[in-house]
């Protein structure tokens, strides 16, 4: 398929040592899916289900045991090339760790620009950086240039991280729990920003999360992972509202839902009186 980022029959095994014997953990087992431009695919599941391993394989931070990653229908290079990195970028979970405290904000965004667009003059660079900052709603961009990460809030830092991912001209962004470290009231803002950019530029987004509610509202398709396998997939409303697989139901049960106000208390009380009788 052209114009998409696709993984096909992806496997990743880790060898675990247990004393003198070894065992194999199938972190990712036979996973296939495609991210199309302008669409968001959400990957949901518990920690340890293999979501982040997939993100790391797609961004070439990890090599799969077997299977392939295809960009525009062509197999992606085994190791990341500059061209591949230009097109596929990542936003990490922890904005406090993913920016270098030693460098200014402008440095963080300038660097990918310099690497991927070597012809730019100093003035052009500066105006591109300002433009990118303003695109992620850090306005006016000039005021952020010389600041360091510690002077920004978590939400602002995550916006810088998004701007950095966009800087090379990425067509696909892998966002691994991009808002789970942020304060609740700014999460929706950052997700909305990603959605806005996506619509404006036709970005393909792989959104990795454990939060079913944002997965439902923020993505077109949801893939539910359990122990390295995709156990359910489909349009997001369909998966959340009519879950078919037992594990999806369990995940949905576990998500807090204010509509079930007082229900847990009543259930527990019912159990207790039931147990006494």
């Amino acid at each position: 398929m052209s114009g998409s980022l696709e993984v096909r029959n992806l496997h990743k095994d880790f060898r675990l040592r247990n004393g003198v014997s070894f065992s194999t953990l199938h972190a990712v087992a036979d996973v296939s899916f495609a991210v199309e431009p302008g669409r968001t695919v959400a990957l949901v599941g518990e920690s340890g289900s293999g979501k982040s391993t997939i993100a790391r394989i797609i961004t070439k931070l990890e090599t799969p045991t077997s299977g392939e990653v295809l960009l525009d229908g062509r197999p992606a290079p085994r190791h990341a090339t500059r061209e591949y990195r230009r097109q596929v970028q990542m936003v990490f979970q922890d904005p406090f760790a993913s920016l270098n405290p030693f460098h200014s904000i402008s440095h963080h965004i300038e660097r990918p620009l310099r690497l991927h667009h070597p012809g730019l003059s100093a003035d052009q660079l500066r105006s591109r950086v300002v433009e990118l900052l303003e695109r992620v709603h850090l306005t006016p961009g000039e005021t952020y240039l010389e600041r360091r990460p510690h002077e920004l809030s978590g939400g602002q830092r995550q916006r810088v991280a998004i701007a950095r991912a966009l800087a090379p001209g990425a067509r696909f962004v892998v966002a691994d729990e991009p808002v789970s470290m942020l304060d609740v009231s700014i999460r929706v803002g950052v997700l909305n920003l990603l959605a806005d950019l996506q619509r404006a530029e036709g970005l393909g987004v792989l959104y990795i999360t454990h939060d079913l509610a944002t997965a439902r509202h923020f993505s077109d398709e949801i893939l539910v992972m359990y122990r390295g396998r995709i156990v359910e997939r489909g349009p997001s409303d369909e998966v959340i509202l009519n879950p078919r697989h037992e594990y999806t139901r369990k995940l949905r049960e576990a998500a807090a839902d204010p509509d079930r106000l007082g229900q847990l208390r009543d259930e527990v009380r019912g159990e207790m009186t039931g147990g006494l009788a």
Partner: protein, 299 residues
């Protein structure tokens, strides 16, 4: 009834009350973390305390348990513990031996990130037993062991894991051990500061359910601190919403959810897209929502 203030029912008896508590961090410039907060915890209820990072919820909890350390100072206000025996204890003036006896026995706490607050070089038996050697010096070793096993059983950890060290337990199990420790002396109040935030949703649900069961069985009151408002609405009896050191709204969980009075409460509620309901303020609904009052600042 949609009154913003608390209106305890006539039958309810408070177990912990804070009156006009103000707490300041004496740094330069001083930070007023808690401003003039009054809060009443009824016997056996779950009181949710919600707010964002930096709103003062943890500081308030520490203040109510006399755990504040310099530079934090309680400038004014009073915290009173109403013991089941009928006597009132003024928590703010306790010190020395009386304070030591009060803590954990009457009010215990499950700390934030408490998965990591177990001592890595002590096994579960020693750490749980430590509570008893300190607070119940008369107990024999056999009694202690038996009580520890009971506690672990209560929170859903296999008592055979008693010799395990923290690194041999999963995050959820460590959290359960912490809750067992908080329950050890059968306190009347348990303060839980983000007890499940670092855990997986499925594990979190298990622990919350266990907590609700234990409350029915043992009848302690809980102050449950978290930013996860949907969870609070689901489990709490009453909820207090905190912002910038003040409680902006306090009402039953149902009132907070269905008829929030304060603008901030509404904003907080809107930050959580509904799992099954309408889409709310999400861009992808088709009609672009204005970016709002750029929420990035001031965090």
């Amino acid at each position: 009834m949609t009154a913003g203030a608390s209106s305890p029912t006539a039958a309810a008896r408070p177990v912990l009350t804070a009156r006009e508590v103000s707490i300041t961090y004496e740094v330069n410039p001083p930070v007023e973390a808690v401003k003039d907060v009054s809060l009443t915890l009824e016997r056996g209820e779950i009181l949710g305390l919600a707010g964002e990072s930096g709103c003062g919820k943890t500081t308030l909890a520490y203040g109510m348990n006399r755990l504040l350390k310099a530079p934090a100072v309680m400038r004014s206000g009073q915290v009173t513990f109403h013991d089941a025996s009928g006597t009132d204890i003024d928590v703010t003036t306790l010190d020395g031996e009386a304070l030591r006896r009060f803590r954990w026995d009457k009010v215990s706490m499950v700390f934030q990130g408490s998965m990591n607050s177990l001592n890595p070089v002590m096994n579960v038996r020693t750490q749980l037993g430590d509570v008893f050697t300190t607070h119940r010096p008369g107990m024999s070793r056999a009694e202690r062991d038996q009580r520890c096993a009971e506690l672990l059983d209560l929170v859903g950890v296999d008592p055979r894991r008693m010799s395990a060290f923290p690194h041999e337990l999963s995050g959820g199990m460590r959290q359960r051990v912490m809750i067992a420790m908080a329950l050890a002396l059968e306190p009347q109040v348990m303060i839980m500061d983000e007890p499940t935030t670092a855990l997986d949703v499925v594990v979190q649900r298990g622990i919350v359910r266990q907590l609700m069961r234990l409350r029915e069985r043992l009848g302690f009151a809980v102050i449950f601190i978290t930013h996860d408002l949907p969870l609070l609405i689901e489990i709490s009896d009453r909820i207090a919403i905190m912002k910038d050191g003040r409680i902006v709204e306090e009402a039953t969980a149902e009132e907070i959810y269905r008829t929030p009075q304060d603008a901030y409460t509404r904003q907080l509620l809107a930050s959580f897209p509904s799992l099954t309901g309408a889409r709310g303020g999400f861009v992808r609904s088709g009609s672009p929502v204005e970016p709002g009052p750029t929420p990035a600042g001031g965090q």
